[in-house]
């Protein structure tokens, strides 16, 4: 089946994310436009206008009432999903790199970059207490004095967050007290993306060290490694099969100088247990920056440096595939 091409950004895609039900796909890029699309046919539902710089991250809450975005314009914004209205603006001292709603949709967390003398922080706001956002006073702010945070997700039940750092480290921080619960260093270079499994027992990391790795959410035990020969920008876990999709590629500026790498912009599929690649999907004109599985596992999407987002519905063969041991 031919992929659906979403063309609504004029700069590199930074992140794409489905809502819980999968009927909507949110896309953000290095331009200030936040788009939302119907995933079934690629029709654009609308845009969330307000950011004035590159948008690094996006998330939707459990019942798709709210949308959260973080930007290089030093703000994290909350939007009403349906009307597009900006509900809240949290000003920060530096770019917002990663953001997310907790399981219940009541608490938002975001990390800010280490820039211009400002430290890297993870901030937590409880939306049920309007004074926190009004006064820009998060109920908790965790400083990261060492390696800055490059990706972060909520753990199961909203008890902790899992943060990936530019050093390749992974940390668990309590969402109640902010204390560091656990730490592991398996990657050797920065972690570009972290995504949890649908049941939130595991998460996968994508790293500049050319690998993606699978970990247990609670213990941070390193379970699997998926190897490629170029930086992995994003990784996602299939909700229905033991499959993983990785997206990455050389930086566009490297491509012009090393001609042997031209055209290698594919999404790669690995079998979870065997750590072996079983498929590749070409199509992007530049490196892939973000991948996401549809919650029903029957399709996946990829966003690239070329500004395109591609929605791929799997052929019947994908569902009949049996990995030969």
């Amino acid at each position: 089946q031919k992929p659906i091409l979403l063309q609504g950004h004029e700069r590199s895609i930074t992140q794409i994310k489905y809502n819980r039900e999968g009927d909507l796909l949110f896309t953000v890029a290095k331009d200030p436009i936040v788009n939302v699309w119907y995933s079934v046919n690629g029709e654009r539902l609308g845009t969330y206008n307000g950011h004035t710089g590159a948008v690094w991250c996006v998330d939707a809450d459990w019942d798709t009432r709210h949308v959260l975005t973080g930007s290089a314009d030093n703000s994290c914004r909350l939007w009403d999903c349906e009307t597009g209205k900006q509900l809240a603006l949290v000003k920060t001292s530096s770019a917002v790199r990663t953001c997310g709603f907790d399981f219940g949709g009541n608490i938002i967390m975001f990390s800010t970059d280490k820039q211009m003398g400002y430290q890297c922080f993870v901030s937590f706001f409880d939306l049920r207490d309007p004074s926190q956002i009004e006064n820009n006073e998060p109920y908790m702010k965790i400083p990261c004095s060492d390696s800055k945070i490059t990706s972060a997700v909520w753990g199961p039940l909203g008890e902790f967050i899992i943060a990936g750092h530019e050093s390749g480290e992974l940390n668990q921080f309590s969402a109640k007290s902010g204390e560091q619960l656990s730490n592991i260093k398996e990657h050797t270079k920065q972690i570009n993306d972290i995504q949890t499994s649908r049941d939130m027992t595991m998460f996968i990391t994508a790293s500049k060290d050319n690998t993606a790795k699978l970990f247990d959410c609670t213990t941070l035990e390193h379970l699997k490694t998926f190897r490629t020969e170029r930086p992995v920008n994003s990784a996602a876990l299939s909700p229905i099969f033991d499959h993983v999709v990785l997206g990455g590629g050389q930086e566009a500026m490297d491509v012009t100088t090393t001609s042997t790498r031209i055209g290698k912009f594919e999404a790669r599929f690995f079998h979870l247990a065997f750590e072996e690649e079983f498929g590749r999907v070409k199509g992007h004109f530049g490196p892939i920056n973000s991948v996401a599985f549809h919650p029903d596992g029957k399709s996946y999407s990829s966003g690239g440096e070329d500004g395109y987002v591609r929605i791929h519905y799997f052929d019947p063969q994908y569902f009949e595939f049996e990995f030969e041991a």
Partner: protein, 116 residues
């Protein structure tokens, strides 16, 4: 900065034009704001989008910088982005099934308008 250009909001290696060596003397700063200028831009833009739509599915010749010339079939690009999506791009290295031509690389393009 250990962050690659991918994480730099000011640069976008895929899209950014190469920096000009000299300032353009024909372009005074802040000239884009006048109403007449905006009307002209809107009219030109509309004509450009109509021509893109007419080129869909037709054989198109692209004239590129430095006298480069390639043929292709007009693609399904909506015209919003700064690039031309084409099918069956003929290049000296062979035919590319689908390709993206950066807007800044294209000087002109021409095609036969299909007869109704």
């Amino acid at each position: 900065d250990p962050f690659t250009p991918r994480f730099d909001p000011q640069t976008d290696p895929f899209w950014d034009p190469p920096k000009p060596l000299l300032q353009d003397p024909m372009k005074p700063p802040g000239a884009a704001g006048s109403r007449a200028m905006q009307a002209t831009r809107a009219a030109l833009r509309r004509r450009f989008l109509l021509s893109l739509a007419a080129a869909r599915g037709q054989r198109v010749t692209f004239i590129l910088c430095q006298h480069g010339r390639v043929g292709a079939v007009g693609g399904n690009d909506g015209g919003a982005a700064a690039a031309f999506q084409v099918d069956a791009l003929q290049t000296p290295l062979g035919v590319q099934r689908a390709a993206l031509l950066r807007g800044r690389d294209v000087v002109a393009f021409g095609f036969q308008v299909a007869e109704k």
